[in-house]
């Protein structure tokens, strides 16, 4: 049963299994354990970014495709829902139309990019995706009638997802309202998407992707049409990223270029996958949790350290909350240096 749900891809490390269990359970009870708008927001972001990073790992870690257009697909999914909720009003029909439209656009775009450019060398493909993604971000901010430009869109969510919607009093001190429903919608959908990705990478199709990553020349020689496989993988990754974007839009009731299309997010998901361990899926999960946590709480943590060190001249300055990016960078370098195969790769290593 567990084997089948996890598609035979067991954690193969006690610590990894514990970490994954902690994430699964922790996110499930997060609204009750850490009530409050900020922590719930962080929990929902973690769910969305787990999916986004995992779909990127399908490309980078499993197929060996370096793409910088992944946030573009994320943005397409988010804007699909945001635009339709803005135009059609706050109904589920708008959510459905927006999600499907986002999926279609993402898949068509991924197919076109794939068929036209997956034949070229990895580095050129990376540059092409960079160019397309930049052009798309500019286009999105120019079409301000549709997308709200730099400010993005603010819209109302379907009634049952609003905090004004109540389906009971309180439970363990937590108000049973639409936000709670919304959170579990994001959580459930993310869980299902992760399990689907896990199945795909452990399917016969997934095994071909890994063969292509390992040696595309030989994969061709034994009879696999690598361009077709790479294009299908790109489409799956793009579609999943678009769904993650749709979830984000459904969670936050605002969508703007900074939260969906920016190059910063592209760097973030790259870090998530590399830190967690490329080509492991679970690595994307761990990496996403760590990075979203660090982005939201490193400053608080540094503030505490800074207070403790008041008076110590150099150290206090070094641990100033404004230095959080520096520390994130240091942590990243240490991570890559000490765990070249990522956290999951390290945990799975036999000593």
């Amino acid at each position: 049963m567990l084997r089948s749900i996890l598609s035979d891809d067991l954690p193969r490390s006690r610590w990894l299994a514990l970490a994954l269990l902690a994430i699964l359970v922790g996110l499930a009870v997060a609204p009750f354990l850490f009530p409050g708008a900020k922590s719930l927001n962080v929990a929902a972001k973690i769910c969305v970014f787990i999916v986004l990073a995992a779909s990127f790992d399908l490309l980078l870690g499993y197929t060996g495709i370096v793409s910088f257009a992944h946030t573009m697909f994320f943005g397409i999914g988010a804007y699909g829902v945001a635009i339709s909720l803005t135009r059609m009003g706050a109904g589920w029909d708008a959510v459905a139309v927006g999600t499907v439209a986002g999926l279609v656009v993402a898949i068509v775009l991924a197919t076109v990019i794939g068929l036209f450019s997956l034949r070229v060398r990895t580095i050129f493909f990376a540059m092409i995706t960079l160019a397309v993604a930049s052009a798309f971000a500019i286009l999105a901010s120019q079409l301000s009638d549709l997308t709200g430009g730099e400010d993005g869109l603010n819209y109302r969510l379907p009634a049952v997802l609003r905090s004004s919607f109540s389906f009971g009093d309180t439970w363990f001190g937590v108000r049973l309202n639409g936000r709670l429903l919304d959170y579990y919608l994001v959580y459930g959908a993310s869980l299902v998407l992760i399990l689907i990705l896990l199945r795909i990478v452990n399917s016969p199709f997934g095994s071909v992707l890994m063969a292509i990553r390992e040696n595309p020349f030989r994969a061709e020689a034994i009879g696999y049409r690598t361009v077709v496989y790479r294009t299908i993988a790109s489409c799956i990754a793009a579609a999943t990223a678009a769904l993650a974007g749709a979830l984000l839009a459904l969670w936050s009731s605002q969508t703007n270029p900074d939260t969906t299309l920016s190059f910063d997010i592209m760097v973030d998901i790259l870090l998530m996958v590399v830190i967690g361990g490329m080509g492991t899926m679970y690595g994307a999960v761990i990496g996403a949790v760590l990075l979203v946590f660090a982005q939201n709480y490193l400053q608080d943590l540094l503030a505490i350290a800074n207070k403790a060190l008041v008076g110590v001249p150099l150290l206090a300055n070094l641990f100033h909350p404004d230095r959080w990016l520096l520390w994130l960078g240091v942590a990243f370098i240490l991570c890559v240096y000490f765990f070249p195969t990522g956290i999951v790769g390290r945990l799975r290593q036999k000593r």
Binding site: S203, M210, E214, N215, R218, E220, A221, I222, G223, Y224
Partner: protein
């Protein structure tokens, strides 16, 4: 039957394979010999589609395959083992072979079943590994195998393709003496079946003499001799073009 007609490839001005016409019958083993740089590997690359021909034609069972991409040719029954070992380095030995078995099964586009549930593919891959006596290394990562075992795995992948045409490019090169018979026995067994076409590039003259039905000699990209082993090996042109220049190699 595999046939090449005036097959030529030029790199710049230099014709690495120069107008080679040759037909390879079912159930026969043809050795292709020639000094280093004669164009043997390049000839293979033209046949199996790794390089595009400048001119000339390749036909397989009457079908013109000159312009088909390599994966198509493989699925039509051309199987190739490489001179320089060419594996999936970070995958297991078993997975290297299972991937080759999977091609014919058509399961490559199956996205939603678990690989491990396709027992028949795994069993067949194991059988091919046993044939090259690598079954006990099934779970080892390919890159960690010693050179001899990697050469055997190269051959196992070719077996797993179950092709009609087997192309071996120096399959025993760099192997220790006691490992060579495993590979030669496999080639002999394929020949025994009588319904396969075998092309063998090999420098070891004793191997060539004992296994071949026919020997073709390439020299500077041109086919310079073609005939029964005894005739070709003793012919003047071969002494001059091949044996003379590679006295230390045979």
């Amino acid at each position: 039957m595999l046939e090449t007609k005036d097959l030529t490839i030029r790199f710049g001005g230099h014709a690495a394979v120069d107008g080679v016409s040759c037909a390879f019958e079912k159930g026969t083993l043809t050795s292709i010999v020639g000094p280093n740089g004669a164009g043997k590997t390049t000839y293979f690359n033209l046949i199996s589609g790794q390089l595009p021909a400048t001119s000339g034609r390749v036909t397989l069972n009457g079908q013109d395959i000159t312009t088909l991409a390599a994966p198509r040719r493989t699925r039509l029954g051309l199987g190739r083992a490489f001179q320089l070992t060419n594996l999936f380095p970070n995958l297991s030995t078993l997975e290297n072979v299972r991937l080759a078995v999977q091609v014919k099964s058509g399961k490559g586009y199956d996205l939603f079943s678990r690989t491990l549930t396709h027992r028949e593919l795994i069993d067949r891959a194991m059988a091919h590994l046993s044939a090259v006596s690598l079954a006990d290394r099934a779970q080892a990562i390919a890159a960690t195998l010693p050179h001899g075992d990697q050469r055997k795995l190269e051959v196992a992948i070719l077996l797993a393709l179950e092709p009609d045409v087997f192309m071996f490019d120096e399959p025993t090169a760099g192997m220790s003496v006691d490992e060579v018979p495993t590979i030669l026995d496999i080639i002999a067994a394929i020949k025994q079946r009588g319904d396969k076409t075998i092309l063998l590039v090999e420098h070891k003259m004793d191997v060539v003499r004992s296994l071949s039905d026919r020997i073709v000699v390439l020299h500077q990209g041109k086919l310079v001799a073609d005939g029964k082993p005894a005739e070709v090996i003793n012919s003047d042109i071969v002494r001059e073009a091949y044996l003379g220049t590679t006295a230390g190699n045979g």
